[in-house]
């Protein structure tokens, strides 16, 4: 956590996305593992889970917005994220808690997964240097893997008669892979933004 925070401080080329990403990473790390522990202890709360997922989606949407240059994609991101936010709010406003579990998560995943693919593709299209040495390639790949993993878990959790904890193990593995991608990204960061040269 501290390392990522320091990386965000030293990395100013994509200042705002990096700060947002670090905040998200910090928040996600605490929130996801807190929820996992809460679930194991059978004290998990559906509303808190969904609130976290919504907040994560909004921050991710903002990161994707900043990394996309296309005005059309930016508008689509704003519309989709606002739509998802309104849907999330409506659950509380109109007391729609009886809705089948997973609908809002499916909406979230079906918005974020294509957005992460589009953002990664458009970003990588712009990179003229070695992609494997670009930190944002690894960060976006981590996002894709994480969103795909969460979407897969959310999508299959209601279909398969496995124990609920199994899906938390699945989430744990997904997160470990994601963090592995983020650690590679960290290694690709320039050491100090004030240094120069080739």
């Amino acid at each position: 956590m501290v390392i990522f925070y320091l990386a965000s401080k030293n990395y100013s080329r994509f200042d705002t996305p990096m700060k947002l990403y670090s905040g998200l990473f910090f928040f996600a790390f605490l929130a996801e593992y807190s929820m996992m522990i809460a679930s194991f202890n059978k004290i998990s709360n559906w509303a808190i889970d969904n609130t976290f997922l919504m907040m994560e989606a909004v921050v991710l949407g903002r990161v994707f917005y900043l990394l996309n240059d296309s005005k059309l994609i930016r508008k689509v991101i704003v519309i989709l994220i606002t739509g998802y936010f309104i849907f999330w709010m409506s659950q509380y406003a109109f007391r729609l808690f009886d809705w089948p579990r997973g609908i809002d998560r499916s909406i979230r995943d079906s918005i974020l997964f294509p957005l992460s693919l589009i953002t990664t593709y458009t970003y990588c299209d712009k990179v003229k240097g070695d992609l494997l040495k670009d930190p944002w390639f690894w960060i976006l790949s981590g996002f894709i893997l994480n969103i795909a993993g969460i979407a897969f878990r959310n999508g299959t959790a209601s279909w398969f008669e496995y124990k609920y904890s199994f899906f938390y193990y699945f989430l744990l593995v997904t997160n470990v892979i994601t963090y592995f991608a983020f650690i590679i990204a960290l290694k690709c960061f320039p050491k100090n933004s004030s240094s120069s040269g080739s």
Binding site: G129, P190, G197
Partner: protein, 252 residues
């Protein structure tokens, strides 16, 4: 509900499909990046070759336009020495000496322009100051130079390219513009090196149909440094105005 085996089959199947799709997606991106990098490398090589050729042409032009006529004049003066009266010979020798000094200065100028050792030895700021002093002394111009680059250390290739850009702009102003005042500013803001250049000339647009000499050379160097052109005077009546932003974290 479906049997456990059936569910397991679909679970593994779906996961495999998603995993394979993602692998194909990443391979596609990496292959495309490989092609883009190849094209970029070719473009940079082309830019280097074009820049070198422009440089050679410019040196040839300097020698042909400045040194050549002076040497011809000296040759004529030396040839006429035998026909002169004894009291005129001393005066003529003085003129020959003056012309020879000018040739020596010009040769030094060309050598200084050619040499990148000057930059590695004295740094960008000092090299530019020397060049500016030389130009302002020779052409009787007022050149206002501000250098405010702090807390960064530019590498040699980077400095050479910046030096050549400024020098090319100076050459354009001196040779093809009728300017009397030139303003040059170099500073760094965050991770960008900002160059601002302007003069009060009025002839480039008229004499060269909007395309001054060395502008291609400047653009090649800007591309090489992955710089951004904020303003670039292609055609103008009241002076030139250029502004370039260069990322300092650049791989040459």
């Amino acid at each position: 509900m479906f049997s456990k085996e059936f569910q397991f089959f679909w679970f593994i199947g779906l996961m495999t499909i998603i995993f394979l799709s993602l692998i194909i997606f990443f391979i596609m991106i990496l292959v495309k990046n490989g092609r883009v990098r190849q094209q970029a490398e070719i473009a940079v090589k082309d830019a280097i070759i074009t820049t070198q050729e422009d440089e050679q042409n410019r040196i040839a032009e300097d020698i042909h336009d400045d040194i050549g006529p002076m040497l011809s004049a000296i040759k004529l003066q030396v040839a006429n020495l035998s026909e002169l009266e004894p009291n005129e010979i001393t005066q003529s020798i003085d003129q020959i000496e003056d012309h020879l000094n000018m040739v020596i200065n010009n040769v030094r100028g060309v050598a200084r322009n050619l040499s990148s050792q000057l930059i590695s030895k004295y740094g960008l700021e000092q090299s530019l100051i020397e060049n500016i002093n030389l130009v302002s002394a020779l052409k009787k111009l007022k050149i206002d130079f501000k250098y405010d680059v702090k807390n960064i250390e530019l590498n040699n290739d980077y400095q050479i390219n910046i030096y050549r850009i400024i020098r090319e702009l100076l050459t354009n102003s001196v040779k093809h513009s009728n300017c009397t005042l030139i303003n040059i500013g170099i500073k760094n803001i965050n991770d960008f090196l900002i160059i601002k250049y302007s003069d009060n000339g009025d002839k480039i647009g008229e004499t060269n149909g909007g395309k001054s000499m060395g502008q291609t050379n400047i653009k090649n160097r800007i591309n090489l440094l992955k710089g951004k052109v904020i303003s670039f005077s292609e055609k103008f009546d009241k002076g030139a105005k250029y502004e370039f932003h260069f990322p300092i974290l650049v791989i040459i």
